[in-house]
Amino acid sequence: MKRTVPLLITGIVGTVLIVSVLIPPAQSLGEDFSLFFDIIAVFAFFLGGGNLFRIHLKKVFHRKEDYGFSIVTLVGFLVTLTIGLFKIGNPEGISGSITAAGSGLQTIFVSIITPLSSTMYALLAFYVASASYRAFRAKNREATILLVSAFVILLGRTPLGMMLTGWIPEQFSIFQIPNLAVWIMNSANLAGQRSILIGVGLGVVAMSLRLILGMDRTYLGSDK
């Protein structure tokens, strides 16, 4: 029951979904299983939310270090939950869409989540730049190729690239940095991308087969 049933479920569900792609009359099975998947995923989110709540509540209860930030997390979580579940501030009431313009949840998304996430990602620009300054030394041929490629793409996507190489005559326009950047993207970069994509595709096929055939059982964990 603890190991055999889950292995059977994985095998049957995986096989049915593969067959549903290959046999047109069975295609609706794939859609039904996707619906099943979506509903189960909700409970995975419940589990995640519940865990977050439990961990931070424990931290506050035991007055652990920096427990004040746990209070902030809990307040943020509960306020968003209340506003979203009861659709507070929704112009169309409880029957309206949660993402309706002017609704509480939409305001939270626009005023809190968007600025926080985009600024977090934007910060990476500084750290990537400083890390690359230390790491990008043309120590060997491979590092030099990487450096040149990155440099051309960076310059090619800014007005500086055209300013520096705009003087190159039309018949040699491929050597103008913006054109060189386009060429790199459409040829050498494409070759590398394709080999990675093909490799990933074959890797996913191998991994999926291992899971469906029950050869990989790590997701079941241990019985201890």
Partner: protein, 209 residues
Amino acid sequence: MEQFGIWLAALLTIGIISFLYKDNILYKACEAIFVGVSAGYWFVTYFWDNLYRKFYLGIQGAELSDQIFLWMAVALGVMMLTRLFDKIGWLSRWPLAFIIGATAGLYMMTYFVSNAFVQIGATITPPPSMETIGDKISFVLIAIGTFCGLIYFFFSKEHKGAFGGAAKVGIWFLMVTFGASFGYTVMSRMSLMLGRFDFLFGEWLGLIK
């Protein structure tokens, strides 16, 4: 309300940017807000989109077989929550097994077709608009680069001799790809940063018209 939203967004933006100076209380508070609010947001979104729309509205007036099907999904979902209890925690393996099986089945075919088949086809089929000598050179270069890149990823044979040479060429092409990806990542992050400064100096302070 709109002004409140702008002020809130501006303060949170400044809070995150303050990390460039050093790790500080304002940044940590913004980080904690981000974690809590994001978890709550996705919780609510999944609740209304999946549990309410797909399950609750789905069983309204549906045939008995469809209702049983949807209730089975909920039962599996509830079993997922047993992970919180030590004694019956093993029951959560059933829904997990379903998710693993469904993901494996769906992704296997999708990746096999879109990643492997389509990419191989595009590499060996000359594009219809191959007019100039430059197009022809690019086509050959892409084919060689893809082939050599794949050789590099083939670890069942030692990279020696001609095989090793081809793998080396594959690494060069991969380095170009990594360089290009790096360049694009930096540019996209810079664009986000400009967007935030545009918001601070334009929408918030009104200095940019």
